[in-house]
């Protein structure tokens, strides 16, 4: 069953006007951590937006474990088990860290709002159980001391970690992290990595991490892919990818593609 869990993109193209952001992209993200690298403007975030349904590709399709995702709404794609974070964290600033994290459980509640209104046993059990699970996850990421603080009062680095927790809380089968470590201090990066390593079972979840920090990718990801001008130009272990002359050209900014 695990063997087939993979996020695949098949000939996906996205263009804004005449600008081909993704150009017939085909790739396959296996379970475990994959670093998605590439120079600015390579189409990394666009790729995430296509997978989670914010953007409809002009052609091609996205499938998760053989099920087609492209064409579905973002809400439905999320319910198929795709969760993501954003480059700049989108937390609800007035809610506590814990309440933010619990938003991730939305699709897992068993009691409806009528039960919530009347405080039925089922609703209370849901709330209690999810609260504990969220607290536990926050603890894995070193955030349990902040659980009852307003999310907006946290430093940016912690906010980004909270967003990762919120995404994990939804128990995704595919987790897409958009530069989770950008702007984080060394301590926060360590907390993020420790949390991801202990909270994610790498044999059950596809994790795609957009990340510029090569050292971080090397630490966390057994595999890396490099996107350049809407195409995958290299896939393999981080070391092999970095050794690839094509990747070096792309990163050194050789102006070859006009």
């Amino acid at each position: 069953m695990n063997g087939e869990l993979a996020l695949t993109l098949d000939d996906v193209s996205v263009s804004f006007g005449g600008n081909h952001v993704l150009d017939g992209l085909s790739t396959r993200f296996e379970v475990g951590f994959t670093g998605l690298m590439g120079p600015n403007g390579a189409g990394k975030t666009t790729l995430l937006n296509v997978i989670c349904g914010f953007l409809n590709p002009n052609s091609g399709q996205v499938t998760l474990a053989g099920e087609r995702l492209s064409g579905l709404s973002t809400t439905r794609i999320a319910r198929r088990g795709v969760a993501r974070t954003f480059q700049s964290p989108r937390l609800i600033e007035d809610l506590t860290v814990l309440q933010n994290a619990m938003l991730g459980f939305h699709q897992h509640y068993t009691a409806g709002h009528i039960r919530e209104l009347f405080g039925s046993r089922k609703a209370r059990r849901d709330e209690r159980e999810f609260q504990q699970q969220a607290l536990h996850l926050l603890d894995l990421f070193g955030l349990s001391d902040f659980a009852h603080r307003e999310a907006g009062s946290l430093p940016l680095g912690s906010q980004k970690i909270v967003e990762v927790v919120r995404a994990l809380v939804s128990r995704p089968r595919a987790l897409l992290l958009d530069e989770p470590a950008a702007g984080l201090g060394a301590k926060d990066v360590d907390a993020m990595l420790a949390g991801l390593n202990s909270a994610v079972d790498v044999s059950e979840v596809v994790v795609v991490i957009i990340e510029h920090d090569i050292e971080l990718v090397t630490r966390l990801c057994p595999r890396a892919s490099v996107l350049h001008f809407g195409r995958m130009i290299a896939e393999g272990t981080p070391a092999s990818v970095l050794a690839d002359p094509v990747v070096r050209d792309a990163y050194l900014g050789v102006e070859d593609a006009a």
Binding site: M1, F86, L98, H113, E116, Q132, D145, R171, A199, D201
Partner: protein, 367 residues
């Protein structure tokens, strides 16, 4: 694992944690597992005391002041209904006065057709919930200003119906509302207690909803819609839930308002009334339970205090509002937060410990 398995797991309440074995650790002793406000019912002490005190209104106050208190209670319910839409769900609906009117006319017309008042109230609520969802349908596509205009247009159409459907509404001249009273009590005392009971129940119900998942979800949709969608929240459905709930509460308030006024006419529910509702919400403070209470009390009180000013009354009213909103952009409820911040700063200054930045967060949803 297939989706159907996962769905099933979610439905049967046994979340499949295969991928996240760590989540199954229930007995976990992290630093902050204790929720600080673990006694949410404590927050009810003050409101319950207030309702209990208000319940003596008809016994202690003369008819005039009892009427004003009753008006403020009904205004609080109206403002609560508006807060649901504008505050919690962040949707600029401008048909709220019309929905109050729909409740008022609905109850009056139903009573004229032999439906008992106490039955007509929930019926009017259901009717208005449906109408409100129809008004909210543009919200599927429209936001902000455009939604405001679309809903305003709906409101104007409904207001037109009040004067247009002359045979059942009495037209522009208005219509008398059938009197109702608890057996053995005066009409004034009866509507007062009924208003108080319904308003208190509505506040309790809304509080229960907004402090939990429903409120969290609405706030997420309001402030970070893409994030909410990406977490699997059906945002259109929730936006329409807010319209339905808001419409139902507005209409029930309207039904109470009609009984209190004993005579209603279309002009009562025009844009002036809408502006009054907006003022009460903004002045009291939105996304809060106390905001509508303060806003409505302030609105009723200020009009009374300025009665003696005669023709300068409107001017004084406007100036008071400008001053209040200028000084307190977050509404009257923000006074509490300001006071707390002041105390904390004073204390921090004394101890020369600066715990102001990160440490000052009150558990949110503290209402």
């Amino acid at each position: 694992m297939t989706v159907s398995e996962q769905d099933l797991a979610a439905e049967t309440g046994t979340p499949s944690n295969r991928a996240y074995p760590n989540l199954d650790v229930r007995q976990h002793t992290g630093a902050a597992t204790e929720v600080p406000s673990s006694h949410p019912w404590r927050r009810l002490i003050l409101p319950v005391a207030m309702v209990a005190a208000l319940a003596f209104g008809p016994n202690l106050l003369n008819d005039y002041w009892s009427f004003l208190a009753n008006l403020a209670i009904i205004y609080a319910l109206m403002t609560l209904s508006y807060d649901m839409l504008l505050g919690w769900s962040g949707q600029m609906g401008l048909a709220q006065a019309a929905l109050v009117g729909l409740g008022a006319y609905g109850v009056t017309v139903m009573m004229n057709h032999g439906i008992p008042y106490l039955l007509s109230l929930p019926l009017a609520g259901i009717l208005a919930a449906v109408v409100s969802v129809i008004i909210g349908l543009p919200a599927i596509r429209l936001r902000g200003f455009f939604l405001a205009i679309a809903t305003l247009a709906f409101g104007l159409v409904i207001a037109q119906l009040f004067s247009g459907a002359q045979s059942i509404t009495g037209g522009g001249g208005g219509i008398a509302v059938g009197a109702w009273a608890f057996p053995g009590y005066t009409a004034g005392a009866s509507i007062y207690w009924l208003s108080l009971a319904i308003t208190a129940a509505a506040f309790l119900g809304v509080w229960r909803l907004v402090r939990g998942r429903f409120g969290r979800t609405l706030l997420a949709i309001k402030t970070a819609p893409p994030a909410a969608e990406a977490l699997g929240v059906p945002i259109v459905r929730y936006r329409l839930y807010a319209f339905a709930l808001s419409g139902a509460l507005a209409a029930i308030a309207g039904g109470l308002f009609a009984q209190l006024q004993t005579y209603i006419y279309p002009q009562m529910f025009n844009t002036n009334f809408l502006v009054l509702m907006l003022i009460m919400l903004i002045l009291g403070g939105s996304v809060s339970m106390w905001g509508p209470v303060f806003g409505s009390a302030f609105a009723v009180g200020i009009v009374q205090l300025q009665q003696s000013l005669g023709s300068y009354q409107n001017l004084a009213y406007g100036l008071t509002l400008m001053a209040a909103i200028g000084v307190l952009p977050g509404g009257i409820v923000s006074l509490w937060a300001m006071a707390k911040r002041y105390v904390r700063r004073a204390r921090a200054g004394r101890n020369t410990v600066d715990s102001s930045r990160v440490g000052d967060a009150e558990p949110a949803g503290s209402l």
